[in-house]
């Protein structure tokens, strides 16, 4: 077997058949693309976490609206703090992830770290339901209460409007995390795991 590469074997020469006659490519366009990508907001935000960052846009809106009624103010404040905390945690996590996954590691080390990273990400997503979901929905419920209280004096209507937000919102959040986010990550985990298994097999 030609592992020392003193000469090209047949498969290698077929594979590299275009190496001699290929035109010289101009890579200045690629450099331009890479430079542009480095400047884009997408690169700064690191893709998958965009939703968390987009929610941050609402923080000043919520604060600006916090003057209206007392309960409305409290609801806005809770929502603003929760969204801001989510943005900060997402940002820290994204930085940690990019530091933990260096592209120039060998394949095995990279895949093992990727596996560890996916596990952490699943844990993080599941925890989001509690530390983000509960205060966020609590804030929404206070808002709903203050709005309902402003427009109606009927205690039962207020209770109905207020109480519907929490279970409904929690179900939506649970569905988004468990049925979409976690399932997708688990599929990716299976791929990485099967690749690592496959790398270990010699027979």
């Amino acid at each position: 077997m030609n592992l020392s590469h003193d000469h090209e074997d047949e498969l290698q020469s077929i594979w590299r058949k275009d190496a001699a006659d290929s035109r010289k490519e101009d890579y200045t366009m690629t450099l331009q693309l890479v430079r542009e990508k480095g400047r884009t907001l997408h690169e700064f935000l690191r893709g998958g976490d965009t939703v968390s960052y987009m929610l941050l846009v609402f923080v000043p809106v919520l604060i600006l609206n916090a003057w209206r009624w007392r309960m409305f103010r409290l609801g806005n404040l809770v929502l603003a703090i929760t969204l801001a905390a989510m943005g900060v945690v997402t940002w820290i996590n994204a930085r940690r992830a990019s530091a933990a996954l260096e592209n120039d590691w060998d394949l095995r080390a990279y895949q093992e770290n990727l596996l560890h990273f996916i596990d952490e990400r699943i844990r993080y997503l599941r925890n989001v339901k509690y530390w983000f979901g509960i205060p966020f929905l609590f804030g929404l419920s206070i808002l709903a209460y203050s709005i309902a209280h402003h427009f109606t004096a009927n205690a039962w209507s207020i209770l109905a409007i207020t109480s519907v937000w929490f279970p409904f919102g929690y179900c939506v959040l649970w569905y988004c995390i468990e049925k979409k986010g976690v399932v997708d990550l688990k599929r990716r985990r299976d791929d990485v795991e099967s690749l690592l298994r496959n790398m270990d097999q010699t027979e």
Partner: protein, 174 residues
């Protein structure tokens, strides 16, 4: 974000790396992705990853294995993301009607055969086809040289059989 001074020093290095490794990286992309657009996307992703990692590259390491490590890590990540999408894609298109040289047919058959391999096998064989030594393949993949030797001989058999099979079919179906 890189400072402009730092960036201006990196640009010539980056261009030199692409000029040197561009063609093998393009071939690597063709081994991982079926359609031309996906290959182009992958090439750009690899270029971005090289650009990002370039400031941390230490000259004592082999540049060749460093480039291939990045390329293969990016390609594998991209492959797992696209796996479900690719299963719905058509196999590589053959240009019907045009007279195709025998060399091209063999090249195309080899590309198809490589694309059929499992990702872990593809990594090893693509490095081998680009002429990396067993030790270099071990450095890129993190596997032992012995493991690579065993796997490579099996993969080469598969590829040779696939090429022969293709030749037999071409002879039977003019």
């Amino acid at each position: 974000m890189k400072s402009s001074e730092e960036q201006s020093g990196l640009e010539p290095r980056f261009l030199r790396i692409l000029e040197m490794y561009g063609p093998p990286l393009r071939r690597l992309c063709s081994g991982f992705m079926r359609d031309a657009a996906a290959q182009q996307d992958l090439f750009q992703e690899i270029a971005v990853a090289i650009w990002t990692a370039l400031p941390n590259f230490r000259a004592e390491a082999s540049e060749r294995t460093w480039v291939y490590r990045i390329a293969h890590n990016v390609a594998l990540t991209s492959l797992t993301k696209r796996r479900r999408q690719e299963s719905r894609e058509q196999p590589i298109e053959t240009l019907s009607g045009d007279p195709v040289a025998e060399d091209d047919l063999r090249h195309r058959a080899l590309v198809e055969a490589v694309q059929q391999l499992k990702p872990a096998e593809r990594n090893i064989v693509l490095l081998y086809l680009e002429g990396l030594s067993g030790r270099e393949i071990a450095e890129v993949t993190g596997l032992s040289v012995d493991n690579i030797g065993v796997r490579l001989s099996r993969i080469r058999q598969k590829l040779t059989l696939a090429l022969r099979g293709k030749e037999v079919v071409d002879e039977l179906v003019p």
